[in-house]
């Protein structure tokens, strides 16, 4: 339900490209948000078992190496947000994305013997970026914190806003076909 709502209503939003659930089945396994300081913000296993969560943490963390490498390699040219395929390890492939404010988004796809269209991955990334943007835009997030706290901690793990952010991420994952639609409620 929510997934459909997202796809149908998102066309009017500038930052939320429609994630077409029908054409994509990328085997999205996990999503990770990493702060500009390389601190983890959210690592979420969207399909498969939660036991793999630690593995996804490791994958997300190690992908920072490749992301750094890509950024350094592209330092002359303007850096594209979409960093593309980072690496594949065991049974997953890792894709990366970096926002202009250096927030890194990493998605982990289960390896299947099929071509992964960059356009599909990009649309997932854009939707995730939008989800983060929406969640972080809440001005009340810093209500009880000192003003000079780094923005990293805006979406602290466990805060109510984090839960709603997680819901947004799940919504994107659902739209990308990783979660069954029913689990929305």
């Amino acid at each position: 339900m929510a997934g459909n709502a997202l796809t149908s209503s998102s066309s009017s939003r500038p930052f939320s490209p429609a994630v077409d659930a029908r054409s994509i089945n990328l085997g999205l396994a996990a999503i990770a948000f990493i702060s500009p300081q390389n601190h983890p913000i959210l690592v979420r296993a969207v399909s498969g078992s939660q036991e793999d969560l630690l593995k996804y943490h490791y994958l997300a963390h190690t992908s920072l190496d490749v992301i750094d490498e890509r950024i350094a390699a592209a330092s002359k040219a303007p850096i594209e947000s979409y960093l593309g395929f980072l690496y594949a390890l065991e049974d997953v492939a890792v894709y990366g994305y970096i926002t202009p404010l250096k927030l890194k988004i990493v998605i982990i796809l289960t390896l299947s013997d099929a071509v992964v269209r960059d356009a599909d991955v990009i649309s997932i990334f854009k939707a995730l970026h939008w989800a983060y943007y929406r969640a972080a835009a809440n001005p009340l997030l810093k209500l009880h914190t000192p003003l000079d706290t780094p923005n990293d901690h805006i979406l602290v793990v466990g805060s109510p806003e984090w839960v709603s952010f997680r819901k947004r991420v799940d919504e994107v994952a659902r739209a990308a076909g990783a979660l069954p639609v029913d689990s929305a409620s």
Binding site: Q37, N38, H39, P40, V43, L53, L54, H57, Y58, H61, T62, L64, D65, V66, D68, E69, R70, A72, A73, E80, Y82, L83, G84, F85, L86, Y87, A88, L89, E90, A93, L109, L111, S112, D113, A114, V115, V116, R117, D118, A119, D120, V121, I122, H144, T145, P146, T149, H153, V156, V157, G158, S159
Partner: protein, 1243 residues
């Protein structure tokens, strides 16, 4: 790769047998040594021996057996053999039936073959073709050379008869030998090449050709590339020879392998046809029989594999790839049926090895061709297919065999990549291909192109480190499965196949080796490193290495790794990953307490139990030294907050503080036996110690421990409960004070835990923050009910203690506003209201004024400055007394405010107890007097000196002819708020070259003007100034006034006293006399008597510096005129030279009384007519000339210089309108009075 037979993996290349290169046994018996050579020659220097050795080395180094050799250069794999080497038998007849078909000894059909009856391909077959059977056979033979004394002395000599016969005999022997060899090689289609080694001299022998022809014919050698002659040459030339030898022999070699291929293909085709009709000849009951022959699929594999190998020998990699693939797919078909290949048999194991090797060959050939994705895909498919098969064979992923095999596949693939990357292979870079953004796809083709954009991540080839890593992981799985099986084996006592072998395997060692290789490769392939040279990927591998060490029981190594890894994870706050790291590390269990956390409720308290268990079960290494667990880099256990009641305090004041330690809410630590808490303040060494009070009862979430007032410098003790419930808080409260100014803060606290022999100290850094929402510390107001509230002035984590400020009262007395030019007194009064004597020092800073042309000055005592007077010592002021200091401010220039910054620094008898009072004083300053000037200019009266008057050329001649005089009236007004007592007013003359003061009204009563001027009073003075103009007119003829008025005055203070004497100066205004070229001055008496004639004089002056004036004068009587005029009415004045004048006279007789209008005089300058621009003048004037202004000398008064045209315009107006009396430029009337003593007789 060592786990596979090297024959099946090595890169195949054409094989060349080389015979006859045995190093001859040393020296004296060497038949080749020429007898004529000097005996000193060492055997190695024998050119032929040297040549032999060089040949051996050069040939062997042409190609070394390696797995990765993609180059297709025409080189041979050289095998050195004996001249009489025998080839293995091609076919051997079946012993039982001599009439049946013969087969190769390696054929499955040969009962003695290791492959009998159903083997596929054995490594020995490849070995046969690489070491036992060549494609070309090269024989090096020494050509017989006759001893030198048999040689002819000259070409003309007859050949020695013995020689020829001997040569012929030797050659025939050799030819026979070669022919024998040739026979055996020809049987197998092997090319035989003979290289004759001869001395250089022999090459020049004319007989050589005939000998060679003879040998060739006798031995039956081919005509092409079959016979070479070589003499000892340099290594360079030798290489050239070997190169050309290989070039020449490459084609026969390729032919050799091609013919093999053709033969095999024929056999395969024949077999394929037969296969359809093939009936299993034996074991009709389907019972597995040891003599069951190879099935058709097996033959296909065999033939395809052979063809692939022969293609590889030929360097035709594409063909080889095709055949290998066919062989591989046939092999898969065989594996697909357990009937064809029953699992866990010898043949099955051989086939598996073969499949793995073929897979590797396929991968390699793809990589030769840079088909990275295909290679990886082949590798993946192979792993997947055999994983599927394995499940069918009962060795699925729950067995160590399976993981062992997977690990081997990854490892071999990684090794292949490593071989490749170390020579020619370049790994692909997987950069993001950015899709064309937003370009609307116009056609279907573009849409397709967009769809294709992307890659299959499963086929993205990466550097070998990844595959080593996967191999290592598989090895770990293998180990895990092995241990699982070990348990079940021990339980059941069953013995499984391969288990005994597996027991001997050092799994950890293998895994470590693989991880280490992966680590090195990741390090090598990572261009970046984050700071300390550690990439995150390498850290991850290091983590796995540590985990392996840990699993292997090498705790010390594990901890060392963990420490290094944990650093990065901590820094980047990847707690989730850090936790398992720590979890595996026993000695840092305490740290675990801080990090907390498993989300599982079941694990509640498990950490503290672990810790307690460790503490209870172990004995510390040292009983004296406490174990210090420094958590400064990591998450602290407690959320610490420190708050002081105020942020600043005075010396001696008591300041309340609260230190609260909050336990994490997700970890239970209530059982931990904390014994004491030591709190270290910044101002003293001794801590304040809280000891655990065993009797205290934990009540509620918040407890309060009160220290009371803490004396500075002395350690204090308190008792309190040091047990925290989940999320519980203990607040330590107390007050502190200081006798000296300082910053009071809590530096750190140390929590001590005592259990058995252990003393664990956990330092608590108050600045450390736990992960999670950060909030400002709050003050605990009440325990029951708990009431925390933030303090109004924010959270103070420290207190700054100051001295009490000095109570000084400072006031300033002055009579504002100040006058300009006045020395303005400001009295600074400093009163000590403190109870301490204070030493006071004064600084005064005069701010730079923003008003133009002001020069201000301050003075204290004798010290003058225009900006700063520093360090004026006032001295010690005893409490209750006042010190006064006068400050004088002198202002000149313009009005406005002067700003003074006054700093009063005081110091109490205690050193360093200083304080400063800063005051800013703004003094409005006004002018005491306002002076207005009124300036009028007059023409020179009296005759001008003549042009020829030499006197006028004197240096000191005052030429006021043109300038005339100026009358200056000065009006001074007392404008300030205070009265002035003026003592003198005088004009100070400063005569200049153009202006000098003639007289002044003040000259006479200079000293009589002493008087008091009250605000609003005015005073006037007039002075007359003579002006001397330059001949040349310049644009601005402005002269400064030739003097200034000087006033000496005192301010009248409100109490009637007079202030100090001040002097103000007002310079005369600047002068700008008007200039005219021609001017007419009319002299008339002011009054006249009726009927008595008066004379009118008109003086016309030409002031123009160079131009002569041509003038006409008209007297225009009017009917209404009351004068009778005697004199010319109209006259032409003779040319008036520059600087000269002419005086005309008339007599006028008034005939009426009263103010009588004077007849009008008109002077016209004809010469000047042209100079006026025609646009401004009516055309008539041009003929008449320009009217010259006629000035009435009686009432002459001119303002500053005006424009000449404007002056003319003014002149014109009255002439038209009949002239008004009030017109400044017109002629005034004459008052005519009746003359009483006049009788009419004069008429």
């Amino acid at each position: 790769m060592n786990s596979y037979p090297p024959e099946l993996l090595v890169q195949l290349a054409p094989v060349m047998f080389v015979a006859g290169l045995d190093v001859p046994p040393p020296p004296e018996s060497t038949p080749s040594a020429a007898p004529g050579e000097p005996p000193s020659t060492r055997p190695l220097q024998d050119p032929f021996t040297l040549l032999t050795i060089r040949l051996r080395d050069a040939l062997l180094s042409q190609r070394t057996a390696a797995i990765w050799q993609p180059d297709k250069s025409k080189t041979f794999q050289t095998v050195l053999v004996d001249k009489d080497v025998r080839f293995p038998p091609r076919k051997i007849p079946l012993s039982t039936d001599p009439h049946s078909l013969v087969h190769s000894p390696l054929s499955p059909l040969t009962p003695t073959s290791p492959l009998h009856p159903d083997g596929l391909i054995a490594p020995i077959w490849v070995r046969k073709h690489t070491t036992l059977v060549p494609s070309v056979f090269v024989v090096f033979i020494r050509l017989y050379e006759s001893p030198p004394h048999h040689m002819p002395r000259s070409p003309l000599d007859q050949p020695h008869p013995d020689r020829e016969a001997e040569e012929r005999r030797r050659d025939a022997e050799m030819s026979a030998e070669i022919a024998l060899r040739k026979k055996s090689t020809s049987e197998r289609g092997i090319k035989l090449t003979v290289v004759l080694i001869a001395s250089r001299k022999m090459l020049d022998d004319p007989a050589l050709d005939t000998r060679l022809t003879f040998i060739r014919r006798q031995s039956g050698l081919d005509y092409r590339a079959a016979l070479f002659v070589l003499s000892p040459v340099s290594p360079g030339e030798l290489n050239e020879f070997i190169k050309s030898l290989q070039q020449a022999l490459y084609e026969p070699a390729v032919d050799y392998y091609t013919s093999h291929s053709k033969r095999v293909r024929r056999k395969r085709n024949r077999h394929a046809q037969a296969a359809s009709a093939y009936v299993l000849p034996v074991s009709p009951l389907g019972v597995a029989s040891p003599t069951r022959p190879l099935r058709p699929e097996g033959w296909t594999v065999r033939y395809e594999y052979k063809m692939a190998c022969f293609a590889e020998f030929r360097g035709e990699f594409e063909v080889a790839l095709k055949h290998y693939q066919d062989a591989y797919s046939s092999l898969l078909m065989m594996f697909g049926s357990t009937a064809i290949l029953p699992p866990r048999t010898k043949r099955w194991a051989e086939a598996k090895v073969l499949a793995d090797c073929i897979n590797l060959k396929i991968c390699k050939l793809y990589l030769y061709n840079n088909e990275h994705a295909l290679a990886l895909s082949q590798h993946t498919i192979h792993s997947r297919r055999f994983s599927d098969f394995s499940r069918g064979w009962g060795i699925g992923d729950e067995t160590f065999e399976f993981w062992s095999w997977i690990a081997r596949q990854h490892r071999v693939f990684a090794e292949l990549l490593e071989h490749g990357t170390s020579s020619t292979l370049i790994l692909p870079a997987h950069k993001a291909a950015i899709p064309v953004p937003a370009a609307a796809p116009s056609g279907l083709a573009e849409l397709d192109a967009l769809r294709v954009l992307g890659l299959n991540p499963a086929n993205a080839l990466q550097h070998p480190g990844f595959y080593y890593y996967m191999a290592a992981q598989a090895t770990e799985r293998r180990r895990a499965q092995f241990f699982a099986m070990l348990e079940s084996v021990e339980a059941n006592g069953a013995n499984l196949p391969g288990f005994a072998n597996e027991k001997k395997v050092d799994h950890s060692g293998i895994a470590l080796e693989l991880y280490t290789k992966a680590y090195e490769l990741f390090k090598k392939h990572s261009p970046l490193s984050n700071g300390n040279g550690q990439g995150r990927l390498t850290l991850r591998i290091a983590g796995r290495i540590a985990g392996t060490y840990y699993a292997a029981g090498k705790f010390d190594m594990a901890v060392r790794f963990f420490e290094r890894i944990a650093k990065t994870y901590r820094r980047e706050r990847w707690g989730t990953m850090l936790r398992p790291l720590l979890a595996t590390c026993v000695t840092i269990l305490v740290e675990m307490l801080a990090h907390g956390i498993d989300e599982d409720e079941d694990d509640d308290g498990i950490l503290q139990e672990d810790l307690l268990a460790v503490l209870k079960s172990t004995v510390p290494s040292s009983h004296e030294e406490p174990l210090i667990v420094d958590l400064s880099d990591s998450e602290p256990i407690f959320a610490t907050s420190i708050i002081f009641w105020t942020s600043t305090a005075f010396v001696g004041d008591r300041v309340a503080f609260q230190l609260s330690l909050t336990a994490p809410h997700d970890v239970a630590i209530s059982a931990l036996p904390f014994a004491s808490l030591a709190i270290y303040f910044s101002h003293k060494e001794e801590p304040v110690v809280v000891h655990h009070d065993a009797d205290a009862v934990v009540s509620g979430k918040v407890q309060r421990v009160d220290f009371g007032d803490l004396n500075p410098g002395i350690g204090a003790q308190a008792k309190g409960c040091l047990r925290w419930g989940k999320g519980g808080t203990i607040v330590f409260v107390g007050t502190v004070s200081s006798d000296v100014p300082m910053t009071l803060a809590i530096k750190r606290a140390v929590l001590a835990l005592r259990e058995g022999n252990w003393t664990v100290e956990i330092p608590i850094d108050p600045a450390a923050v736990r992960d999670g929402p950060v909030s400002n510390p709050k003050w605990l107001f009440n325990v029951d009910p708990i009431k925390f509230a933030p303090l109004r002035d924010g959270s103070n984590d420290h207190v700054t203690v100051h001295y009490r400020p000095h109570r000084l009262r400072v006031s300033m007395t002055h009579q504002s506003p100040a006058y300009l030019d006045e020395e303005y007194p400001i009295i600074i009064s400093i009163t000590n209201e403190d109870d301490r004597p204070l030493d006071v020092v004064l600084d005064v800073l005069l701010q730079p004024a923003e008003i133009d042309e002001t020069v201000n000055d301050i003075r204290i005592d004798d010290e003058h400055s225009q900006s700063l007077i520093k360090g004026v010592a006032i001295g010690v002021i005893v409490p209750g007394t006042t010190a006064l200091k006068s400050l004088y401010l002198t202002n000149t220039g313009g009005d406005g405010d002067r700003v003074l910054d006054i700093s009063i620094q005081s110091r109490s008898p205690i050193v360093q107890d200083t304080s400063e009072v800063l005051l800013t004083l703004s003094v409005p300053t006004v002018a005491p007097m306002k002076v207005d000037y009124d300036v009028k200019y007059l023409h020179t009266r009296g005759p001008l000196p003549g042009l020829t008057d030499l006197h006028t050329y004197d240096r000191d001649y005052w030429d006021d002819r043109e300038g005339g005089e100026a009358i200056i009236r000065a009006q001074m007004e007392c404008v300030g708020p205070w009265g002035l007592s003026v003592e003198t007013v005088r004009l100070v003359r400063k005569n200049g070259p153009h202006a000098r003061v003639l007289e002044c009204s003040l000259d006479e009563d200079e000293d009589d003007v002493t008087s008091d001027w009250l605000p609003g009073d005015e005073f006037a003075a007039i002075c007359r100034i003579s002006l001397s103009l330059e001949d040349e007119t310049s644009e601005d003829d402005v002269f400064s006034g030739p003097g200034e008025f000087e006033l000496s005055w005192r301010r009248i203070l409100p109490n009637g006293d007079h202030g100090p004497l001040c002097t103000s100066r007002f310079p005369l205004p600047t002068l700008q006399p008007p200039r005219q070229s021609v001017i007419a001055l009319l002299e008339l008496p002011s009054s006249a008597k009726l009927h008595i004639s008066i004379s009118a004089h008109l003086t016309i002056r030409n002031h123009h510096p160079s131009r002569t004036a041509s003038l006409s004068v008209q007297l225009e009587p009017d009917a209404a005129d009351s004068f009778l005029i005697a004199g010319q009415r109209s006259a032409r004045v003779p040319a008036l030279l520059p600087g000269s004048e002419v005086r005309l006279a008339w007599s006028l007789i008034p005939i009426e009384c009263g103010f009588v209008r004077v007849p009008r005089f008109r002077v016209l300058d004809k010469r000047n007519a042209g100079t006026v621009s025609p646009t401004q003048q009516p055309p008539g004037i041009e003929e008449e000339g320009i009217p010259v202004r006629v000035v009435d000398m009686r009432r002459e008064e001119r303002a500053k210089m005006v424009d000449e045209a404007l002056a003319l315009a003014l002149e014109d107006a009255p002439s038209g309108g009949g002239g008004g009396v009030d017109d400044a430029g017109s002629i005034g009337p004459v008052l005519v009075l009746p003359s009483f003593n006049d009788n009419m007789s004069t008429i």
